[in-house]
Symmetry: C2
Subunit: 525 residues, 2 copies
């Protein structure tokens, strides 16, 4: 995998990509003399998406880029001045002009980690004014990335390890950047490749793609054909007129399939021939522009067999309408019969790709035992996450000036856990997940092999566990992807169920639990 | 409204923001000597989103920007060379290097127009290779913009004309650009403002926002207070110690409400005071950080009344949890009673804003007759379009070299209408919508007052209509928004129903219908 390279960065991820209230609060903090108070926020989600029992953390690489580049330009400050009160002290804007993230510390789950409700994906600490301003952009960069990575991981779980999964949802995404994010993080979540060329160029995601119906229907068959002479694959021997060879093969194929030689559409065949001449080593047939059985398949076979004589092997066929599973089985049957008839064994195993609004249910059907489908293209269902289009991450203040802070709303689900915290993932002796432990930052870390008393979220009594633990550095996208697959392998079969109650436990340490009780008891600290 | 200004453009909307198969097809066209064949594509959707009877066209301004800037840079061409066959003719890459959109013509529905299934939002014609390459970026730029504009229009229909609607979904969008697109086009669809500062800076969308819970909870009440002296609003007379005045008002308010003066949270009050000092003309209270009744409301009233004595009027309050409608009614009751008690009539009508995962159903509740809610903040539900996160636009080839092209798949819904077409929106004598007419480009346009025979989509018999018609130039975002509201006013009550069969008719001219029959009859042209 190529390294990631995004020299221009993303113009849209700028400091003003934020909610206005971050700027008004910044002025409020500054006016109150609190701009430099040391504060800490946690970014987390409250429920696993899609009714499942896990999420994958993602988006951190975009956050790191954003934080490194964070600087308000003159035009940004001028725009803020135009929407803040006209009598705002100019010294505030001078303060903004000098801001950067050099005083900000971010601790994070590595990309591709399993993530669970309430356990911070990011812990962001630094001057109150700055870490407040970061809320919206960090939520924006983490939430969708994690959601689409999780969605891709679910689709991979359904597809199993052997099917090739192609993400092709750029046209269904929320604009250019939604598409780039979707392609990057669906690859992280377990897809094999993307149709999105920019994701290949900027992020090193493997790209794939062949041809669309418009290419086929753009040919009528009456066009002046291109130079049809093709050299053999091995490079030795004279070139062959591929057009003439296709014509001969068409007659043999039609006779074999019991079709009239005039039935297959000449425009479709001209398109296949043109594509084969441009891509002799990567010929691909889209079979359903007119009729799979009477046109697409015989035309494909004629071109593939003509290429085959020259030593080239076709890369595959694609079906984009109808009952995809049934069609794939029938196409494979024809491939086998034709391979036997013409004694060309390679034809049996030509990959069959399918696409057409494939969702989780249809994917399960296509991945069932005995399916002849090899490659599955998914667009809308991976990119838009239709079952739950938002992860609903939040970014909550947990301490200021070293003092814990807690939101004590009347809605219990919206209460926060106070204090600067450390999170540990505890593993059992067999490497399985035990639970995630949240404790106060100043508590000593848990030790492998030592018994611990912890309070599972929502429990009324403490539990006892005896764990081992784990930590990873920030990896490349390819490494994150490998790490995501490794992370997923730790899930028990129950956790992998796609509709699942929150099985995995998140627990509080005794002291954190005591702090919560104390703050709930009332009054300020 | 400020003009739009996006000097940097959007780095992500570049020529390589496309599916790889566009590039492979480009090579195929080029190799077949067809790169410069004149072709026309249509971009349209097949079904109205969200089960309704209309969509709003949007995204055109982004398409125009993209087309103007379309140029493959050296690095782009090098990347394509790295993913295409190594023996590709270098002349192909020279061809790519020289490409621009100077030969491309786009006809489009103006932004903010009503759009109906099968009627092109864009008609794109030009050299086959280029207009093929444009497929994915144009779909990406139009589909989500139109979807979110339509979603916003539905939410506006539910809210009625008087509620102020604030879009605040940046953190729930598909990354930076998804957020920018959402803010821009939800404004177009009828929202009043956005929290997204960048949408204000780059697109001229009115921005709004005040403060979050973190601002409140960041104060404990023990902070060293800022300089609390505030001059009167009119600018005349001595300054007043606002902190002292708030303290006095707190006692009076608590006595009036029957609360102990120690009950309201001192940190929350300190936060309100700090905000009031920073924004005396725009003071806003977020009421539910601790307890609306025992803390948020009395603290707000104390600060608001202290400001009021100096001639300042608070801008509003916000509720972010609980039963928002019920709370708003009760808060309004307290405002009225307190206004009467202290003889401050302005307090009665302080705007009440609400937020917290508001969807269509909850919005209808909040907008019901007698509701005391004035401002409604919506994030996830407008930005992610959870009822249908993708519009499913397609981009289909309709002619090459002046010859009509048609996709004749076995799936009837995926069949296309052939030929370069003109679309007309026919209005009745009362200005109401009659139908959209699709005809071949070379047919004479329909004339107002003249009877026409047309074939409604799917009908077996022609109908007769007698219309008048309409056309608009490309307007600014603000004008598009006004135009969208005007467009929506043309919908009949039946069309405005949010769950609706496709009531609006799209009809074919006699000649277009005949061409379809001819091509369906079989064989190439």
């Amino acid at each position: 995998m190529a390294a990631e390279r995004d020299p221009e960065g993303r113009a849209a991820a700028r400091p003003l990509l934020t909610d206005l209230y971050q700027a008004t609060m910044a002025l409020g903090y500054w006016r109150a003399g609190r701009a430099r108070d040391h504060a800490e926020f946690e970014l987390f989600f409250r429920r696993c998406p899609f009714g499942g029992a896990f999420a994958l953390a993602a988006g951190l690489r975009d956050c790191v880029r954003f934080l490194h580049a964070f600087r308000l330009r003159d035009a940004d400050v001028q725009f803020l001045a135009s929407v803040l009160p006209p009598d705002t002290d100019p010294a505030f804007f001078e303060h903004l002009r000098a801001l950067d993230c050099s005083g900000v510390t971010v601790r994070a789950l590595p990309e591709g980690s399993l993530a669970f409700p309430g356990v911070p994906l990011l812990q962001v600490s630094g001057p109150l004014l700055v870490v407040q301003l970061l809320e919206t952009p960090l939520l924006c960069l983490v939430s969708y990335a994690s959601l689409v990575a999780t969605n891709a991981a679910r689709l991979r779980l359904i597809a199993g390890p052997d099917k090739r999964l192609l993400e092709m949802g750029l046209r269904r995404a929320q604009g250019p950047d939604g598409g780039l994010t979707a392609s990057t993080y669906s690859y992280l979540g377990g897809f094999d490749s993307s149709s999105n060329v920019l994701a290949g160029q900027l992020r090193g995601v493997p790209v794939a793609g062949t041809l669309a119906h418009s290419f086929i229907t753009s040919f009528s068959g009456s066009e002046v054909p291109p130079d049809p002479v093709l050299a053999p694959a091995a490079g030795e021997g004279p070139g062959v007129d591929l057009a003439a060879s296709v014509k001969e093969w068409l007659e043999r194929v039609c006779a074999h399939l019991g079709l009239g030689v005039q039935e297959p559409h000449p425009g479709e065949r001209a398109a296949f021939l043109a594509y084969a001449l441009a891509f002799p080593r990567a010929f691909h047939g889209l079979l359903d522009s007119y009729s799979v059985w009477r046109s697409g398949l015989p035309n494909f076979l004629a071109v593939a067999l003509a290429l085959g004589e020259l030593g080239y092997r076709p890369m595959g066929v694609r079906l984009d309408s109808g009952d995809l599973l049934q069609l794939a089985q029938e196409v494979r049957t024809v491939f086998r019969a034709t391979a036997a008839h013409f004694q060309v064994p390679w034809l049996e195993s030509v990959p069959i790709a399918v696409s057409n609004n494939i969702d989780e249910e249809e994917l399960a059907r296509l991945a069932q035992e005995g399916s002849e489908v090899n490659v599955i293209g998914i667009g809308t269902s991976v990119v838009t996450c239709p079952q739950q289009p938002s992860l609903g991450c939040v970014y909550k203040l947990v301490s200021v000036g070293g003092q814990p802070r807690m939101k004590m709303t009347e809605d219990p689900e919206k209460q926060t856990l106070p204090g600067s915290k450390a999170a540990f993932r505890l593993l059992g002796y067999d490497g399985s997940l035990l639970l995630d432990l949240l404790q106060l930052a100043e508590e000593p870390p848990p030790q492998a092999g030592q018994e611990l008393r912890v309070w599972p979220q929502g429990a009324q009594e403490p539990h006892t566990v005896r764990p081992a633990q784990l930590c990873e550095p920030l990896p490349s996208l390819a490494e994150s992807r490998a790490f995501a697959q490794l992370s997923l392998s730790r899930l028990s079969p129950e956790h992998k169920r796609l509709q699942s109650p929150a099985l995995y436990q998140v627990a509080l340490s005794e002291r954190l639990r005591a702090l919560v009780d104390c703050l709930r008891g009332g009054g300020p600290l």
